[in-house]
Symmetry: C3
Subunit: 274 residues, 3 copies
Amino acid sequence: MIDGNIAAEILQKVHRERPLVHHLTNYVTMGDCASITVSVGALPVMAQAEEEVEEMVSAARAAVINTGTLSPERARAMLLMGVKARKMNIPVIYDPVGVGATTFRTGEALKLLHEIKPSIIKGNRAEVAFLAGKTGAEIRGIEALSGAGEPLEVAKLLRETLDYEGVVIITGPVDLIYDGKRTARVNNGHALLPLVVGSGCMASSVIAAFAAVERDYFRAATAALATLGVAAEVAVQAAGNKPLGPAGFKTRWLDTLYFLSEEELCGKIKLNIS
Amino acid sequence: MIDGNIAAEILQKVHRERPLVHHLTNYVTMGDCASITVSVGALPVMAQAEEEVEEMVSAARAAVINTGTLSPERARAMLLMGVKARKMNIPVIYDPVGVGATTFRTGEALKLLHEIKPSIIKGNRAEVAFLAGKTGAEIRGIEALSGAGEPLEVAKLLRETLDYEGVVIITGPVDLIYDGKRTARVNNGHALLPLVVGSGCMASSVIAAFAAVERDYFRAATAALATLGVAAEVAVQAAGNKPLGPAGFKTRWLDTLYFLSEEELCGKIKLNIS
Amino acid sequence: MIDGNIAAEILQKVHRERPLVHHLTNYVTMGDCASITVSVGALPVMAQAEEEVEEMVSAARAAVINTGTLSPERARAMLLMGVKARKMNIPVIYDPVGVGATTFRTGEALKLLHEIKPSIIKGNRAEVAFLAGKTGAEIRGIEALSGAGEPLEVAKLLRETLDYEGVVIITGPVDLIYDGKRTARVNNGHALLPLVVGSGCMASSVIAAFAAVERDYFRAATAALATLGVAAEVAVQAAGNKPLGPAGFKTRWLDTLYFLSEEELCGKIKLNIS
């Protein structure tokens, strides 16, 4: 139901239709999110004032909400934008960066989740566990440490606890995508990816671009994460024996994604669907 | 009246005098604007609080105003800074990013334009058409699509409609510069440039640096855009057969600009003046 | 008392313990500060809302305060975060970017300094001279020009004038570190470093990471600056005959730091302690 050919088709559709993706994201990785949106073939927009986010998202085909560097004003703009996007029936990708780290962040993140009911929630194990009310998880900064539980269980818990009906993504060495019925595990990627600051935020941009052109969000999310993982593998492979650090890798990852061929994607994709 | 030798002279003057360029720009490409300001030999400053922009711009020799990620607070700081810069008689480069996309953005952008009367307005065809009150133009995010009309007509319309007396730049595959009497068309550049997020914002930084040292802003703007275009061409040429994506190209473009020689600039510049 | 072996030990401790470093820094170089924190082996966090900075810094082991793009709201968050960090007895690195450039900036910077009493103050000669009340210094944008006086004298003056008891760092071609008794001069570095926008801000991130694991902040700061300087030298050396501009150098600097070996650090470190 989802394989390399389908992923390649969605990617081509992104290139053909160049959907506009509206972001309300953090200040740290904003530029990188815009860049990867272009690399994957879509168009980014980053308007953030409460005065214009509803009108701006009306022109978009997908929306990203990312709670890194959250503030009360930002949360208000996110709410306006997210609710409007849902009314328009375009996909909203929700990336609750840092949830669980402070009372403020957790409170705002939960409020946004309840009021927007995003189409896709994407976080690491600890972030999603926190949203689901599990308190044993340990977070350091933006990094999940331990105690969050097995990914599929965490995803199920989130849907049950919050009565959430969308797609849940739990990122990690193996990315898990779950929509209540189907489970996908993406085995693509590279150890350098988590060393790129913002690689998670950037993944949300690409998931949004894919969901903009593919209404089956489970498929869109799975294809997006596989595409990003394959691009990372191809980038490292193309570097040959040259040692790659996070900074050089980031540039190569973005450009490999830009050039990624159907053959490479189909040949390297490693999915597990159940 | 403007050719490769004159462009090279202005570039050298930037290197020699290292003018300070004050930016009030968007959050997405702020770091890149600062970087290209250094690459071209000038100094960036990015102070943004209403409490200090007037004093900061007093030490500068040019000012950039860019309406990407605009907010009411930001617009207030822009107004203070722009008016002060005009009183000091230093060039103000105005980049109305995203105008036409929302009522808020268009309203604020027009107000800033009327109250500041910037020395140079730089936008793509659709943005300038919107400022001129032409409503047929279509914008998607920050990208002009169609219906805006022939560049020179749009530039003329802007000057007439708004009773504007400065230099108008309309960017595109061929950049047009118009000051009411003279028209320049810059045929330098590369297809990768529009794929670099912020390349337009970065162009404004370089135009500002050139205008800081050359009081004929028509000349300064033409020389700046030609210099950026030649740097892009040299960067791609130097890469040889290696395929270049937007990310790798950006690094090479910045560094080619940093190293650009008088010979390269004179040898490759392609201008059409009338 | 501090040499290559000790610097290498501290660097290894950073890699082993991966301390969380909370930043309240400027919008221009935020992403780069996060990236270098990862490159040196630590973890960045950049929460900035007044509502959460105290709780966030409670999980951190060091704090960075940088006054570039300062605003009244930002200053309030810095005060909350800095005071909390000092109560927790974790190191606070204070980088008074642009102090002296405007009345607002200077006033806020001095207030923060007085109320937080940071563990380490790091600035260029003119910035530190301004904090010390010396008015002959000239600043253009973020660049110190002249008239600030001999670095060690400036450092002493700061401690005396403000009754400051922490470590003072004055950056420049030779970095000076002074704690009232000991003076270190770091002779490592490269002419490309000051051409990288944010290299100073990034240095503060690395100093913070080192101070997080080494309670002798004089040692930590000296080791951090030497490590950054050696990484710059190794990066340039590895490029061979290839001409390096600021953009290409930045990527290589970050990745050289990521891979830096004990041997390279010990073999190249050039310190002068008295």
